[in-house]
């Protein structure tokens, strides 16, 4: 779960990391009032879960309250990479002498937290990694022991941070580690961490991503979830315990298992791409899905107007194909789909499952033996509908 910048910085502040004065606004009027209260030059920043908002015009400097109100007016409601801006953060502008990159993330290969920092802050880490990999200091953290003081001194020294800033930097390092650790974060990033003209350190921008699997023990963070950029269909699926991701294609996919679900999408693309046809969604119905869940999943898939055919790909291992077939019929009767449905059942009791489907003699039902055949029939069904 991603936190917005304003939420991330408020969290940093709880761990003793200094942040600029500022507040979030939902209207331009409110933005102007906050700017007036802060006085001086402020920055108006779009709060959306997407990178590159600066380049998209979502971050503006304002010399006074009137300018802040004007900028907020322009930014609120702006569409940045498909997301509508609903909140802006009004921060006092920092006097920037130097920008530092600082983050702690999960290193998947090492199975350890990884601290990364650089005196070349401001740009994103992928860009930095590409252009100046030698300018990034990396230090793994023992997950049992945590970040040790000697490591922090090493980091400050290796990055050639002027000694005058060591004391406050080390305090920020230990604060960021505590924040990452206690929040079950998969990323806690300050970029930039600014050295101001007055010689203070300030977390001017921040990004925190919380591990979804740990949300059950992070009630305060879970309460900050902003679902406004989550498509309605994805939210409904999430609440029904189904993993669904909306895509741009025409073939709705219903599959058991995440790896096979991705593969099924890939097959529709493999055989459909030349005709401009591809997957409409990722959907993992899971093992042992009930007919009710299959019906819910089918309605969610069909709520997407782009869907011109549905592809069921079920490998029955422990799940028996005859049970799945009955589930599909129940779902069919409940939802009454008007698009063709290609059904491919393989594995345990596949023959019985296929018999149930064929005996039902329902319109729009197309049976397939292999995954290849299923994908090709689904592509053909979309072509026929056009």
């Amino acid at each position: 779960m991603k936190l917005h910048e304003y939420q991330s910085k408020a969290l940093f502040q709880e761990y003793g990391i200094p942040i600029p004065q500022g507040r979030v606004a939902e209207t331009s009027r409110e933005a102007g009032a906050i700017a007036a209260e802060l006085g001086g030059t402020v920055v108006v920043k779009a709060q959306v879960h997407v990178g590159g908002r600066g380049k998209a015009g979502g971050v503006k400097v304002a010399r006074d309250a009137a300018a802040a109100e004007r900028h907020a007016q322009a930014i609120l409601g702006m569409n940045i990479k498909g997301l509508t801006v609903e909140k802006v953060l009004i921060d006092e502008a920092a006097d920037i002498q130097q920008e530092i990159y600082l983050a702690i993330t999960n290193d998947r290969s090492a199975g350890q937290p990884l601290l990364m920092t650089s005196m070349q802050g401001g740009m994103d880490i992928e860009e930095l990694n590409r252009t100046r990999p030698d300018a990034i200091i990396r230090e793994h953290i023992d997950p049992i022991l945590g970040l040790q003081p000697y490591q922090m001194t090493y980091i400050a020294s290796a990055m050639r941070l002027p000694r005058a800033h060591w004391r406050s930097f080390l305090k920020i390092l230990s604060g960021l580690y505590a924040c990452y650790n206690k929040s079950d974060a998969e990323l806690a990033e300050i970029n930039p961490l600014v050295i101001t003209g007055a010689g203070a350190l300030l977390a001017v921008d921040g990004k925190v991503i919380i591990d979804d699997n740990a949300l059950y023990r992070q009630p305060a963070l879970t309460a900050q979830r902003d679902s406004s950029d989550e498509p309605e269909s994805e939210r409904l699926a999430r609440e029904a315990g189904i993993t669904y991701i909306k895509l741009e294609g025409q073939i709705g996919c219903m599959v058991n298992g995440a790896g096979l679900a991705m593969t099924t999408m890939d097959m529709t693309k493999l055989y459909g791409e030349a005709h401009g046809i591809g997957p409409a969604n990722f959907l993992d119905i899971g093992g042992g899905a009930t007919p009710e869940q299959v019906a819910t999943a089918l309605s969610i898939i069909l709520s997407d107007a782009n869907v011109k055919a549905v592809l069921f790909n079920i490998f029955g291992g422990i799940t028996r194909c005859d049970e799945v077939a009955r589930g599909i019929l129940t779902a069919y009767n409940a939802v009454q789909p008007e698009v063709p449905m290609v059904i491919r059942l393989q594995g345990t009791n596949a023959a019985e499952g296929k018999k149930i489907i064929s005996e039902a003699q329902l319109p729009h039902l197309i049976s397939a033996e292999t995954l290849t055949e299923a994908a090709q029939r689904a592509v053909a069904a979309v072509q026929e509908s056009a």
Binding site: I125, I144, T268, G317, T370
Partner: protein, 285 residues
């Protein structure tokens, strides 16, 4: 012959009295796996299909010598269950549980390394040596005994490919599901190395997916150290960046972990990569 497990492996099931644990323990026993008992805190002294249930792993290991443990308990208790097994001296722990927080897994992995315990998973379907034993949920019907080793991040995709091989008369030495989480106990490289050293494995099928760089490391290993032929499939070519595709680890992040990058690395290393998983048997024959 095989890797990791065979008909002599003595297996404990943590969570044997649970619905999932019990269901799969029975299927494992039907398959011929030597399940010696189970552990459920608070149910010590009970019996499960003629096998003793213990309160703790220490008591279970003390009474019934065992060398493998299968963890089937829910996510909130699974990290602790893995550590309990490692602390009791079990050298191979296989964890099926999905949704364990990554922070817990990083601590558990460090703990297992200290104790000299190998962990497979979490969020995996387990391990099966066809004709001998299975520890986990891989269905018996998907594989025959044979000489192709299979290593995979996924469950049903593995069954699909195993079944396609079986229909062509191709069997498997051992099938290993390493799991779809970002932090897992055993990687592709670990298993490839075991297959390379296993005299009864002649060829290997590798089933990867988007996210992370484990397939890139596998490609490096194939290039530098493998003599046996490898056929591969990478799922998620059609997945958009920045979206988590079901598995916690299946996400293309900051341009890293894409299917194309992995396919290129594997091909450059000499592996034969299928565009369609149903072609894997062709690439192996």
């Amino acid at each position: 012959m095989s890797i990791l497990i065979d008909r002599n492996s003595k297996v404990l099931v943590q969570g044997i009295t649970g619905r999932q644990g019990g269901f799969h323990a029975r299927l494992m026993m039907e398959y011929g796996t030597n399940v010696v008992g189970g552990v459920t805190p608070g149910k010590g002294g009970e019996w499960f299909d003629g096998k003793p249930v213990f309160d703790t792993m220490r008591a279970a290991v003390k009474t019934k010598y065992a060398d493998v443990s299968l963890v089937t308990v829910p996510a909130r208790f699974a990290a602790d269950a893995i550590m309990e097994a490692a602390d009791a001296g079990i050298k191979l722990v296989i964890c099926l549980t999905e949704h364990i927080p990554v922070a817990d897994m990083m601590r558990v992995l460090a703990f297992c390394r200290q104790r000299g315990t190998r962990l497979i998973g979490p969020n995996c379907p387990g391990v099966m040596t066809p004709g001998e034993a299975k520890v986990g949920i891989i269905p018996a019907m998907v594989a025959l005994p044979g000489d192709v080793g299979v290593v995979s991040k996924s469950g049903t995709l593995t069954y699909e490919v195993g079944f396609a091989m079986k229909n062509r008369g191709i069997g498997n030495s051992t099938i290993v599901g390493i799991g779809g989480d970002p932090v897992i106990g055993t990687t592709f490289v670990d298993i490839l190395e075991m297959f390379e050293n296993d005299p009864d494995t002649k060829k290997v099928a590798l089933l990867g997916e988007i996210g992370g760089s484990a397939e890139i490391a596998a490609a490096d290993y194939i290039k530098t150290s493998m003599t046996k032929p490898v056929a591969a499939f990478i799922a998620g070519r059609s997945a958009p960046p920045g979206k988590r595709m079901g598995h916690a680890g299946a996400i293309v992040d900051g341009g890293e972990g894409s299917a194309d990058e992995k396919i290129q690395a594997l091909e450059a290393a000499g592996a034969r990569v299928a565009a369609n998983p149903e072609e894997i048997p062709d690439l192996l024959s």
